[in-house]
């Protein structure tokens, strides 16, 4: 162990492991830790050798050996009275009398988690004329659906919906609240978490349970998808998480399932007059035409290396042939060849097609996090070491301009046989 001038055993940062999360900076009682040029540094002369930084470091980036490792106490908030919080709630997002698919995916996940906690799955459903949706929620796996049915909830307004959902949480006290990470869901979840002063973890790709402590283990990509972090919310309830569409599997609907529907009133005050007014809705032209890459069963995904307008018809032909559509990676959108709605990846859409065919897609992590759910991955690339080639079920190494015409021919003749 290194020592400083005062002879104290001090902590050191391992720069390679440090992720610059700065937790240790906040934790150091004597302000001996600093950020310097993207990495954290401990001032050896100031360090008192308490080892608190070691305890908070999530990346094991601190080199320190405590003579006797004491468990920290008194860190963080006062323990919240967590008793009495039971059940896994799912916010059910409803549009025009139907529930959003992501809500059912989360109900499916909630059932799985509820088994581990031996508890119930609850649906939280604010909206207008949403009773049919409540029955659908039961069919997908909710035990009890709590409904706030009010004309003021006809259209989504952050504050109205926020109040309705926070009110349900305060009354029902679920230990977990899951929200689909649609634009509506992300907006709403942030409002509710702030009102309830609880923790919220966005865009989780994995959810699990620690049954002893009844903790939700929330795993999400961070740093632009370069690392995965598992987040906990120890002392506050509900533990809140948003999950993107298509990340969890859609459960089977069972119209014979039984459950209970309960109704809450929406507390409204004079400020109702002050609520924002939705003037217009402009459907996105391309989406009117039915292009939704998240629903396609086959995707031909164009990467930077195939970003050539002359070959677009060829990609479209391949996609059509297999009953799919064309999507792309981020550089292709930046080049202007395809619109953003066709982009797969962290800043685009998360997709889970049955067959994903990547054409000259190198496979940056930001792209991979958006397509890991694909059932079968085919990579066509000239570079064998491309990350997508590494994870593909089938890799075709070579020039796509030579390969794809042959693929099209070959598939055409095989389709004739199948039919």
């Amino acid at each position: 162990m290194p020592k400083n001038i005062k002879g104290r055993e001090i902590a050191e940062i391992i720069p390679d492991k440090c992720i610059a999360c700065q937790l240790c900076i906040g934790e150091c009682p004597i302000n001996a830790i600093d950020m310097q040029g993207g990495a954290v540094r401990i001032d050896p002369e100031a360090c008192a050798g308490c080892g608190r930084c070691l305890d908070v470091c999530p990346a094991n980036a601190i080199l320190f050996e405590k003579p006797v490792r004491k468990k920290m106490t008194g860190i963080g908030q006062k323990p919240h009275p967590l008793e009495g919080y039971r059940g896994i709630a799912v916010f059910i997002e409803a549009h025009d009398g139907t529930g959003a698919e992501v809500s059912w995916e989360l109900v499916g996940k909630a059932r799985e988690l509820a088994e581990k906690l031996e508890t119930q799955v609850l649906g939280f459903l604010p909206g207008t004329d949403v009773e049919p949706v409540a029955r659908e929620a039961i069919a997908y796996g909710c035990d009890t659906v709590y409904m706030v049915d009010n004309p003021l909830l006809q259209k989504y307004l952050s504050r109205m919906y926020g109040r309705a959902l926070a009110h349900m949480c305060n009354q029902v006290k679920p230990e977990i609240l899951l929200v689909g990470a649609t634009s509506l869901g992300r907006d709403l979840a942030s409002v509710v978490a702030t009102q309830l002063e609880t923790g919220l973890t966005a865009d989780c790709t994995g959810l699990d349970i620690n049954p002893q402590e009844r903790l939700l283990l929330m795993t999400r990509p961070t740093f632009g998808g370069n690392i995965m972090a598992t987040i906990l919310c120890r002392n506050h309830r509900p533990q809140m998480s948003t999950v993107r569409p298509k990340v969890m599997k859609l459960p089977k609907k069972d119209t014979g399932r039984r459950g209970e529907i309960r109704t809450f009133d929406l507390e409204t005050s004079q400020e109702v007059v002050q609520v924002p007014r939705i003037i217009d809705f402009i459907p996105r032209a391309a989406e009117v035409g039915g292009v939704d890459i998240t629903r396609a069963e086959v995707l031909v995904v164009i990467g930077k290396g195939a970003c050539d307008p002359r070959h677009l018809p060829m990609f479209e032909e391949l996609a059509m042939l297999m009953g799919g559509t064309v999507a792309c990676s981020r550089p292709v959108v930046q080049s202007g060849l395809l619109p953003h709605i066709r982009q797969v990846g962290q800043t685009g859409k998360t997709v889970a097609p049955k067959v994903y065919i990547g054409v000259a897609v190198s496979g940056a992590v930001q792209h991979l996090v958006g397509m890991q759910g694909a059932e079968k991955i085919v990579a066509i690339n000239i570079a064998r070491q491309a990350p997508l080639v590494q994870i593909a079920d089938y890799a075709l190494i070579g020039d796509y301009r030579e390969i794809i015409p042959k693929l099209i021919k070959g598939i055409e003749s095989r389709i004739k046989v199948i039919r």
Binding site: L23, G26, V191, L200, A202, M228, Q390, Y394, G410
Partner: protein
Amino acid sequence: MHIICCVKQVPDTTQVKIDPATNTLVRTGVESICNPYDLVAAEAAVQLVEKYGGKVTVISMGPPQAESVLRECLALGAHEAILLSDRAFGGADTLATSYTLSQAISRIAAKDPVHLVICGKQAVDGDTGQTGPGIATRLGFNQFTYVSEIMGVDPERNTITVKREIEGGAEVIEGKLPALLTAELELSTIRYASLPELVRSLRQTVRVWGAKELGGLPERLGLKGSPTSVKEIFAPPVRGGGLVFDSGQNSERVVKDFLDTFFEKEKRLLDGLLTKDGHAQEH
């Protein structure tokens, strides 16, 4: 009109890579930049003030070196900059961050009423998009997320009309000020700072506020005010590689090999896909 922009200094995530040998982040050479969405927000604020009059104050919570992102916003034409920097703010999750920022905004507003707050829709390092709505909720402002266009401000009626990008289209919505917007990249096109503005941005003083200046409850700040904590961090899981067909000299042959294998191994999957859309089922 007084507009506040909240900006964040982030590592340039497009440069961050994982060392495959050690599974650790390669940080060398990774620069700190201003979160792109926040720059768009600052530019939009400056444009609004150019049109309707008023001033733009930019604030950022971060270490002392985050001052550079504030100067970047000053160069775009923002009028004042305040850095919220204190060790007590360190380790904050989005709940503690929105608390600190809303405390700062309340303090600024006490002297100079705030009509509008503009944030980026999310920061590229965390991608949560939670801080903006958190601030609006704490301040009791109307909140409009994912704004791609500010269609107008009506000073008489004290309202703002914006276009928001949501599932399936765009929503045009009007609400009372004060309000908080979160910016999509389309909200504005960032100008090239003029030389005089650049010089001004470098000369101007950036005030620094710590926990003492902000007031509020110390247990709500930084790590202590953060309900979430990181349990562990790991490299993304790798999907095992599969079969490799190297087209080499004879692509005709290799493509045939591939298709033979593909159609044999994935027969069930492909039969289901290729016989859809009213095509006759197999025999």
